[in-house]
Amino acid sequence: MTRYIIRRLLSAIPLVLGIATIVFFAVNLAPGDPTLYFLSPGMTQDVIEQMRVNFGLDQPVHVRYLRWLGAMLTGDFGYSISHSRPVLEVLMDFLPNTLVLSACALFVAFLFGIIIGTIQAVRQYSVMDSSMSVVLLFFYSMPSFWLALMLILTLSLFARNVWDLPIWFPASGIVSVDYDFLTLSEKVRDRVMHLVLPTLSLALVLTAGIARYMRGSMLEVIRQDYIRTAKAKGLSEAVVVFKHALRNALIPVITLVGLYIPVLFSGTIFIETIFAWPGMGRTIYDAIFIRDYPLVMAGTFFFAIMVVVANLIADVLYAVIDPRIRYE
């Protein structure tokens, strides 16, 4: 197993480099370049050429590629054209925000999913089972941005202006404007309040998938002999479910974490736009449109690494759990 892990890690290196290369050429192939965005009347071709030189775009693609590669191997990811700062700094500014959001969403999604899936399995074919399926699928079928907007309208706008509720959630941002002037406990509360709507928007969509896998997994486990034995022994249902079945049913579901991480990262871009959340998704997306090559490359690079690691974790977990699976 260890050898397998090491082999996977080693093979990840050419993988990531391969992706980076493909993306580099793909982005450079796309028509347009950053200077277009700074175009203004009176700018002659020479000025534009000058800009290109300033950005280091005057050289042919393969030369730029090699320079980028060389710089990257030494840890220099270059300068972001649209942010006027080193790319690494830009990423470090935005990455934590996205990570926090993703982590919370994953956590909430798995929490809800596992609980609901378990209940569904234990009460298979009952009204509760069917109705929960319907409700979950209802949320699953909504585009996340629509759900986000709905949540803002109901829990933010209507809650405050129309229904006069004592609590309403902020409609955007990670912290309030006067965050710096709050006490520590108020700061924590502020952050949590700002997290609620974005997290729900991301998590509710995932919950359905997780709940279904959990339901299926739980159903399989419940039919095992050892569960029947436990029941025959006279143990209460709650004990049986939680102590024996749940733990075993949880295992394949946990491997889903690896699968869902990339999904989560690509999903954040809608949420970040709607909730004005300064995160990676939006940054990379904007960078693609404005052809900020260094930023796009670095973002892709990190994204690819994260996905590879997540997949590796998922595969390893899967094998550890199910002893029937062997890797050579």
Binding site: P41, S84, F107, I274, A276, P278
Partner: protein
């Protein structure tokens, strides 16, 4: 079960912990060495200044205004390299100072320059700089700052985006002479609206940026990470893609009004318009810049809010590529314009917040005179006649006209993704022009790709393109229509008309307004006949504000024009 609970709680705790310390905040957020040097000096001086100039004991002083808008400020206060509207507004009115600014009638008045004198032959201007203005780190603002800024923006290495401003100025060090610490002379050729560039150019600090090579100004951290200015507001913080925070400058000259009423001004970036409206409605933001016309009614309906609107400096048009055979004849272009019910489109798309445009001279401009122009009203019958005259008839009965050699009058109109108004225009034109026998195919293209397609001289891959233009008080269409510029990026229309050339050249150098007025009239009439563009409308700029923000004036000069005079209703604080 207990284990699960324990794990759950640990999970929540970790997440909360991460949440509390993740993300960027904190005052001196920049790790750039330049900024780390510069910002402490600002703090020190500001502490000193607030003691030296205490806040007057008047109820209007105090409070924070939060303003929300869609875009961030990409270049911040770096006036040598920026071309974004928000950037420019903050350079002119918030963080920096310009030599002059305009009053409500468009007349120049003193600002950073306390006086100026134009030489009798019109070939130089001598500015007297105020002596009571200090940079936010304590240094005196003087003529060397102006000289530095002028040299930087006229140097092609800097790639100053609005290079057209300086067309008739003597560029580089030859164009500017420092006579003494507070007197400076600038050389130029006489031309129209020559003072306008000094209204928009924020003066930059020579003592901080003087050593930076001009070709590195664009990427310098000054603009977005530590812009030290001398304006009414001091830069406090910038969290990228999230917000900018500015604080009142206690050392702002008394003669110009002293420190602003507001203690703090926060610029929030919110990229989604529904969210912006929600934030305004729940009073989380006080000002919403540029809501959509469809959102205006909700702002009006809300008692706590007010809708401001003014005629802006932009116009929307469809540019025609006269290089294409179908569009080479001006009669075809005129037929297209009168075959489109533009008044209806404006009413529908802008909900009345805008005016139909027939030329590129917006309502705020002194040369705006629609009454004296030939009419371009919606007249599909006349359009059909024009097309017939130009030789385009429906010869095969398929509803689309062809020329004698069989070319179909089928045109594509391109517009960029994500812009609902431009899409509206293209699609409505498709419907309406179909009725006069012209087939229109709207084509949406991603913004960067579109720019490349229309701006690359060898390419010009388009028939029609829906575009918008923002103009300054100095109006100059030379880059658009002059035949000598036909191979430069902005000559989309491919116009080659000697009369237009002559008028453009003359307009450019005629400083006297009464003379110029005649020329403008001629030019506009010619433009209408030539129809290189189908001009659509001059949209109003809208603004939603909370009624607790008082004293806000807005007009063509911009939304931020008197931000230093805004104050909050004391009862609301």
């Amino acid at each position: 079960m207990k284990e699960l609970l324990k794990k759950g709680l640990i999970g929540i705790g970790t997440v909360l912990g991460l949440a509390s310390c993740g993300g960027s905040d904190g005052r001196i957020g920049s790790s750039d060495p330049f900024c780390q040097q510069v910002l402490p000096a600002v703090e020190a001086f500001m502490t000193q200044a607030s003691e030296a100039y205490p806040t007057p004991d008047e109820p209007r002083y105090g409070g924070t205004v939060v303003l929300g808008t869609i875009g961030d400020m990409p270049d911040g206060l770096n006036s040598a390299v920026s071309s974004n509207y928000s950037d420019a507004q903050h350079q002119q009115f918030v963080g920096l100072m310009t030599l002059i600014n305009y009053d409500a009638r468009g007349e120049a008045r003193a600002y950073l320059a306390e006086d100026w004198e134009v030489a009798p032959d019109g070939r130089s201007i001598t500015f007297q700089i105020r002596q009571d203005v200090r940079w936010h780190d304590g240094e005196q603002t003087d003529a060397y700052d102006v000289a530095f800024t002028y040299e930087a923006v006229t140097d092609p290495l800097t790639a100053f985006p609005n290079a057209a401003f300086w067309d008739h100025y003597v560029k580089g060090p030859d164009g500017v002479e420092v006579i003494d610490d507070f007197t400076i002379r600038i050389r130029l050729e006489p031309h129209a609206d020559f003072m306008d560039p000094f209204r928009t150019l924020g003066i930059l600090p020579e003592h901080l940026l003087g050593d930076v090579p001009h070709d590195q100004l664009k990427l310098h951290p000054y603009g977005t990470q530590c812009p030290v200015g001398n304006g009414p507001f001091v830069f406090a913080q910038h969290i990228p893609q999230d917000r900018w925070v500015f604080e009142a400058n206690p050392a702002f000259p008394e003669a110009l009004g002293g420190r602003p009423f507001l203690d703090r001004y926060v610029y929030r970036v919110i990229p989604e318009q529904t969210t912006l409206l929600t934030e305004l409605l729940i009073e989380d933001i006080d000002v919403y810049i540029a809501p959509r016309p469809d959102q205006a009614q909700q702002i009006i309906d809300n008692q706590n809010l007010e809708l401001l609107n003014f005629s802006g400096r932009s116009y929307v048009f469809v540019g025609w590529n006269a290089r294409k055979p179908q569009l080479a004849d001006s009669r075809v272009r005129r037929a297209i314009t009168i075959g489109t019910n533009r008044a209806e489109i404006v009413e529908a798309i802008l909900q009345g917040y805008g005016q139909v445009a027939n030329t590129g001279v917006p309502p705020f401009h002194w040369a705006y005179d629609p009454e004296s122009m030939p009419s371009l009203e919606y007249n599909p019958d006349r359009a059909k006649v024009l097309l017939d005259e130009a030789g385009w008839q429906d010869r095969d009965g398929d509803g689309v006209r062809e020329s004698e050699d069989g070319t179909r009058l089928s045109l594509s109109i391109k517009y960029n993704t994500g812009n609902q108004q431009r899409q509206d225009i293209a699609e409505i034109m498709q419907q309406q022009l179909g009725a006069v026998g012209i087939e229109i195919q709207p084509q949406v293209v991603e913004w960067g790709t579109l720019l490349q397609q229309i701006n690359t001289p060898e390419l010009r891959d388009f028939d029609g393109v829906v575009m918008g233009w923002v103009v300054e008080f100095k109006l100059d269409d030379i880059d658009l229509f002059h035949s000598e510029r036909i191979d430069q990026p902005y000559a989309w229309s491919g116009t080659e008309n000697l009369e237009i050339d002559r008028l453009l050249e003359e307009l450019s150098i005629t400083a006297d307004r009464s003379e110029a007025m005649v020329l403008w009239k001629e030019y506009q009439e010619l433009l209408i006949e030539e129809q290189p563009y189908t001009y659509f409308y001059f949209p109003d700029r809208l603004e939603g504000i909370n009624r607790r923000v008082k004293g806000v004036e807005v007009d063509a000069r911009g939304e931020w024009l008197n931000i230093k005079d805004w104050y909050l209703d004391p009862a609301s604080r």
